[in-house]
């Protein structure tokens, strides 16, 4: 088991290394454009050259990469060219805000989609199964920005029930998070529900469930005691992998509701050419995605009774 964990962590480190190389090459291979982005368009050739020299940009590419990577690992993420403060100072509070949004979304998403998936899968082809399938197809067809607009039209413009923005200017306000969380959940729950349903339906076809039913056990007991245990292994992985999707979703949702999270930070940085912020945001996001994937892999191995370690 320890070997397996070490192996996974090794793979993860290797992946992060390659990702960092891609990010570095994509954003910093052209040092002239880096200088323009950092110093602004209205600078002379001479000023840019001096800046590049002072910051070691005339070193060979591989040396630049290693010193960049070393900076990253030790937490020196560079300075934002827009805010003129170290990137880490703005990144962590924004990440914390996004984490709040993400955790809330997961807290709604997980029970909802597991419940619906189990209900749909335990009687395949029944009315409840079909209804749940139709709803999940419809909700996954609506892009996040569109469902956001629909929700705003209904709950903000039509019913005046909820605030339309989530700026949190007057302190933390949970009602401002209702719509953003709803958008994330609406887009994602269909997929998790379908996966849970498939897993549940597969378990319901197995001989041991038939045995339990034929033994005369109440249907409830068959589901809760026999079916759920095995049916919920696959959804575990699916849910962990949703965190990767959520990191995309929050960008749209945060822009739509003007929420000061990591997604708006990345988007603003991308539109303003604030390259050190882009680098930091990307690396953090990929790290979260790769880490959750690693946990999903390990968790699956631990949960699956067919795989045993001696």
């Amino acid at each position: 088991m320890a070997i397996l964990i070490l192996k996974r962590i090794g793979t993860m480190a290797l992946m992060m290394l390659v990702v960092s190389l891609i990010v570095f090459l994509l954003l910093e291979i052209d040092k002239e454009s880096v200088a323009v982005k950092v110093l602004g368009v209205f600078t002379t050739e001479e000023q840019r050259r001096l800046w590049l020299e002072a910051n070691g940009y005339f070193e060979p590419l591989y040396l630049r990469y290693f010193s960049w990577l070393a900076g990253f690992v030790t937490g020196d993420l560079g300075e934002s060219t827009v805010f003129r403060v170290p990137v880490s100072e703005i990144l962590w509070p924004r990440l914390a805000n996004t984490a709040i949004l993400g955790v809330l979304a997961m807290l709604v998403l997980i029970p909802l989609s597991l419940l619906l998936g189990v209900f749909a899968g335990m009687r395949e082809g029944s009315l409840q199964d079909r209804a749940i399938s139709v709803v999940s197809i419809i909700t996954t067809s609506v892009p996040e920005f569109a469902s956001g607009i629909f929700l705003v039209a209904v709950f903000v413009v039509g019913l005046h029930l909820l605030p339309g923005t989530s700026t949190m200017i007057e302190g933390f306000d949970l009602t401002q998070l209702v719509l953003p969380v709803a958008v994330l959940v609406i887009y994602d729950f269909g997929y998790v529900t379908r996966m849970t349903r498939a897993s549940m339906a597969e378990v319901m076809m197995t001989p041991y469930i038939r045995t339990a039913v034929l033994k005369g056990l109440p249907f409830r007991r068959v589901i809760v005691r026999h079916a759920l245990r095995n049916a919920l292994i696959a959804p575990f992985t699916v849910i962990m992998l949703q965190i990767n999707w959520l990191l995309s979703g929050v960008i749209v949702v945060e822009l739509l509701f003007a929420y000061k999270g990591f997604g708006t930070l990345l988007l603003e940085a991308a539109l303003n050419g604030d390259i050190f912020v882009i680098e930091a945001c990307t690396m953090v996001a990929v790290f979260v995605a790769v880490a959750t994937q690693t946990i999903a892999d390990l968790g699956y191995t631990l949960l699956n009774p067919r795989i045993r370690f001696t």
Binding site: V23, T140, S141, P143, I149, A153, L247, S248, V286
Partner: protein
């Protein structure tokens, strides 16, 4: 139906007959019929755009008009106008062209690359497989929208670059699917027969394996078309899509994002358009899957 089956036993069915037969199968699933109807509807709108659009999509006539407002020189703004006074219905109609050109183009390009990668990885195995699988794992580890933002900000927003970005981001996923199918098919007798005949590896991959993997791939193409449509819309919404003034549905919403609470009609109708198209594609995919499972 009967005669076709009899013919099928004596001679391999032609491509035309197979297509006719699969359209016949489509009727068996109501879900697929609805999906097809929606997709055909939007395709017709895109083709007939110059004929059915009531106004020029870029003409600025009367700003902030609510739906059903009469236009100054005859006609009505059925869905209202935007902040620059452009007719929303006309922009949606012309916008369908943008979506229905770029989404299939990008999906096709991603499939070309993904299928090649998947065939090579699954059939050749060994180091080719390891390298291709590792590359796609790395690409897939990026949250997808972040990958798009990185690519588009590096190479700039344009139609071609959207296609490139979609290809780069989707090909690994397609590769995984194709690779899985190939791993299953590569040990079949007909592959062994082709190998014994001394056919080249690419002939076997493209002419023996690929046609037999098409069932699941057709379903995936529909799903992916829907997903690419969402992606193009979302990029437009984030301001990273196709440059204005070309109308595209995501871009229309992006322009008036701040005004949406005051003038919901400006945003709601383009959103309905994109959602219905994606729904059509997803229903079609679902119907096709249902039909393929039944056989």
């Amino acid at each position: 139906m009967m005669t076709e089956q009899v013919v099928g036993e004596t001679a391999p069915p032609s491509v035309v007959r197979q297509t006719v037969r699969s359209i016949g199968y489509l009727k068996e699933s109501p879900v697929a019929v609805i999906g097809t109807a929606i997709v055909v509807f939007w395709s017709l709108v895109a083709i007939l755009a110059p004929l059915i659009s009531p106004f020029e999509p870029t003409a600025t006539i009367l700003p902030f008009a609510r739906p059903l407002t009469p236009a100054p020189d005859g006609g009505r703004f059925l869905l209202g106008t935007d902040q620059l006074g452009r007719d929303i219905l006309s922009r949606i109609i012309w916008g369908s062209r943008t979506v229905l050109i770029y989404a299939p183009l990008a999906t096709f390009s991603a499939y070309l690359v993904g299928v090649m990668m998947g065939l090579a990885a699954g059939y050749l195995r060994g180091s080719t497989d390891s390298v291709l699988s590792f590359v796609s794992n790395v690409i897939l580890s990026f949250p997808v929208l972040i990958l798009y933002i990185l690519i588009i900000t590096t190479i700039g927003p344009s139609g071609l670059n959207v296609v490139i970005a979609v290809t780069f981001a989707s090909a690994p996923g397609i590769m995984r699917i194709v690779r899985g199918l190939v791993l299953d098919l590569r040990n079949r007798e007909y592959v062994a027969a082709a190998q014994t005949r001394g056919e080249s590896a690419w002939y076997i991959m493209l002419c023996e394996i690929l046609p037999n993997a098409r069932g699941p791939l057709v379903v995936d193409i529909c799903l992916r078309l829907g997903y690419v449509t969402i992606t193009i819309g979302t990029l437009g919404f984030l301001g990273l899509g196709l440059p204005p003034p070309r109308p595209d549905w995501g871009g229309m919403v992006s322009d008036i994002r701040a005004l949406a609470p005051a003038f919901p009609h400006m945003a709601v109708f383009p959103c309905l358009a994109i959602s219905s198209l994606v729904l059509g594609l997803n229903l079609l995919a679902d119907g096709l899957r249902e039909i393929s499972l039944r056989d």
